[in-house]
């Protein structure tokens, strides 16, 4: 006959066994992650190996991204929005800066570029002092945190058509696109990140997030060439409220939008000069469609 103690022990053990799968699905453990230590990356002619990245990850990255890559490093608690963004949770396998369509995994080159370029206005610096091999190893290390890479392939990078010549007409057309897809709702009519929705934005984890301010001299996080900006609104920034507009605007319109956004930026540009000559006014949120 079982004693009361034995009954309780059995009950608690059963509960623990039932809870275990739930707990492990909520938070990956070191042993889960360790099974993917053979992850590789391929960047140009360099092959990165996750197993070789551990010393560099520990030296450079773990303070923010944490031992388990969940973004809970010792300093994460001090990085609070809106001043700073929390470190990326690699376990989710969701990344902002990609050349691939929204919802898909980034390519190894995308992750490599992110490590090399860093993220402006965050605590993620440029790691271009590391060797190519070290960076490729770190890409493999980042991948080994998420089970997504075990079951999914990265998306196919979008095609960016050749950049057309900028003209005043294209800048005006870009303003129409800006109005049509309602960029102003978050970024504001003058790109100052003060649109009516700006203060309400949160990322996929429910943390406050600010839209990009085009006017304060900052560089866009995913690169500051025209191609980079084109790519941002055709792929979206996964995990943030910035969607992909690939289904809403045509490539030509996307280029027009790039040119128009350049008119907001603090840096000198042809677009800025043309906008000045055109005496281009900001979009009117209350204007009927097509009548900006």
């Amino acid at each position: 006959m079982r004693t009361r103690l034995q009954n309780w022990t059995l009950l608690l053990s059963s509960a623990a066994l039932l809870m275990f799968p739930l707990a492990s699905s909520a938070q990956l453990t070191t042993s889960d992650i360790q099974t993917r230590i053979g992850a590789e990356s391929h960047v140009g002619n360099v092959t990165g190996h996750a197993k070789d990245a551990a010393p560099d990850y520990r030296r450079y990255c773990v303070g923010c991204h944490g031992d388990l890559g969940d973004g809970n490093g010792e300093n994460a608690v001090w990085m609070q929005p809106p001043m700073y963004q929390q470190p990326r949770d690699f376990q989710l396998g969701v990344f902002k800066c990609r050349s691939t369509p929204t919802g898909t995994l980034p390519t190894d080159q995308d992750l490599y570029d992110a490590i090399t370029r860093g993220f402006d206005r965050t605590n993620m610096p440029q790691w271009n002092t590391l060797s190519k091999q070290e960076r490729a190893d770190l890409v493999a290390w980042v991948k080994h945190f998420s089970p997504r890479w075990a079951t999914e392939k990265p998306g196919t990078p979008i095609t960016i058509p050749p950049e057309p010549e900028v003209t005043p007409e294209r800048i005006k057309a870009g303003r129409d696109v800006f109005a049509k897809v309602q960029c102003w709702k978050c970024h504001g009519v003058q790109g100052m990140a003060n649109g009516p929705s700006a203060s309400t934005l949160t990322d996929d984890l429910g943390r406050p997030i600010a839209p990009f301010n085009f006017t304060d001299g900052s560089r866009p996080k995913c690169g500051d060439t025209d191609q980079d900006i084109y790519r941002i609104f055709m792929t979206g920034l996964d995990g943030t409220p910035m969607p992909s507009f690939a289904d809403n605007i045509k490539p030509d319109e996307a280029w027009d939008l790039v040119f128009y956004l350049r008119t907001f930026m603090a840096q000198k540009s042809k677009e800025k000069e043309m906008a000045k000559q055109l005496a281009l006014k900001p979009v009117d949120p209350n204007a009927p469609a097509g009548q900006q």
Binding site: V46, D52, P55, D56, R58, R59, Y60, V62, G63, C64, D67, E74, N75, W78, M79, M83, Y84, G118, F119, D120, R121, T122, N123, M124, P125, Q126, W127, N128, T129, L130, S131, K132, Q133, E134, G217, S218, R219
Partner: protein, 511 residues
Amino acid sequence: MRVSSSSLLRVFRFATSFAAVALVFTSVVLTCSQPANALPAFARKYGLRCSACHESWPMLNYFGQKFKDNGYQLMNDRDAPIWQNPGYWPVVFRITPIWHRVSVGKVQVDTYTAGAPDGGQAITRVSSSGFDLSGLDFHTGGTLEKNISFYLLPSSDPTGAFHFEQVFVRFDNIGHSPWLNFKLGRFELDNLLSEKRILTLTGNGGIYQTYHFIPQGDGNIFGQIGDNQLGIEYLGHSADDRTRISASLVSSSDGNVNLSTTANAYTAFIAGSQAFDLGRAGVQRVGFYLMAGDASTYYLTEGGAPIAGSGIANKSFSREGFVGQFYFGPHIGLTVVTQHGSDNVWFGQGYGNAEATDGNGGTTCAGPALSPGCPPNNFPGTALPTGAQAPSWNGVTFEGHYIYSPQLIFISRYEVEKMSQQANGAACTACFSASSGAFTAAGASPSNFGNISTYTIGFRYNPFMTSRAGLAWHNEYNWLHQDGTGPANLTTLAPTNLNTSELLMGLDFDF
């Protein structure tokens, strides 16, 4: 005597327990995965572990070098102080309580008979050991505004007497170009192997002999690359810091303030380096440096005493060499610095340091020039002794590191400095004697006179590291040998060689 089986069992159990404890302790020491840290002021500001910038604090890695070259900025548009919490104060304290044992191989001492000095002398080894303290450093540095940064380091000796070790303001990325950066103040020259970030602490091992070597009796104290200097520096670097060039113009005062020594004399220092990505081996860097300047050998006097800042009769000196920073995978690094140095013939005869400064603005020679114990002064009409020649020498430093982890680093260093031409040639009849401080030397100095060879080994272990404070358990041993600088043999009067050694253990901490 027979040992019972139960006794053997107890011994076996004790041995296995001891081995287990030792294994666990060793494992904890070697595999502890605590975070790593360094100058907490910057770590606090950016939330990066100190290991991000330091191979082992305070030695910089390439990322830390780039951060420094950018004017203590990550270049993330959040560098300016306006982005910091108002309570943030960029100050760090560093001090090191130590135990050390210093042993000097040959010291001339009085002898005693029946409890009283007997007028005789002997040469013996003198060893001293005890608990001690380093000086205190107040590091404070950071940005005043985007691309304008500063560093201020008031530093004390162990008694609490303060001086300004480093003070400068930097203007960086002028015209948005990393190739245009300037710095004004008192700073360390742009040495790839930084003496101010040296990983060792003993008296002879805590400096780079290659950076400080001067021939015996030489009066040129102004060409010491390892010391902070007063001046202005231009620095340019590529965006990824792979290519670096710098040029400094400094007063030939060895960093002394108040124009107290050799005013009206300047020294130029130029350095350049290029890094190469060699795949799995890591990023390798090779470079060069050149220091060329002049310094006065004569001071106007009043009543025989030198007048501060009145140095004239400048003579030249130069130091040049190559630097290499090599990595053999993620754990092993080797830095090599070579040097060829030469001083003007006047310096070789003891001229130059007429005020006998102590390196911190004070003087050790209170009497008028040419009084006993004071260096010579190049008065108008002074002639060089017959047989005097310009001294020159060659040196090399090898410093190897085994970086087990950001928390544990093993250090080894070997340096050798060899004279290639002594100041006193064969024709000398009344040349300057380093030992007597007077013009009494005849004939050539031995070719190896003053040569130095020294090695240092040690390790630094950081039991914990955070971005808020740091603690290193430091252990080090240094041995130094110098030819011909020991006390003269009491019987033959021949010069002897001198060996010194130091064992040091301490806790190096900052917060």
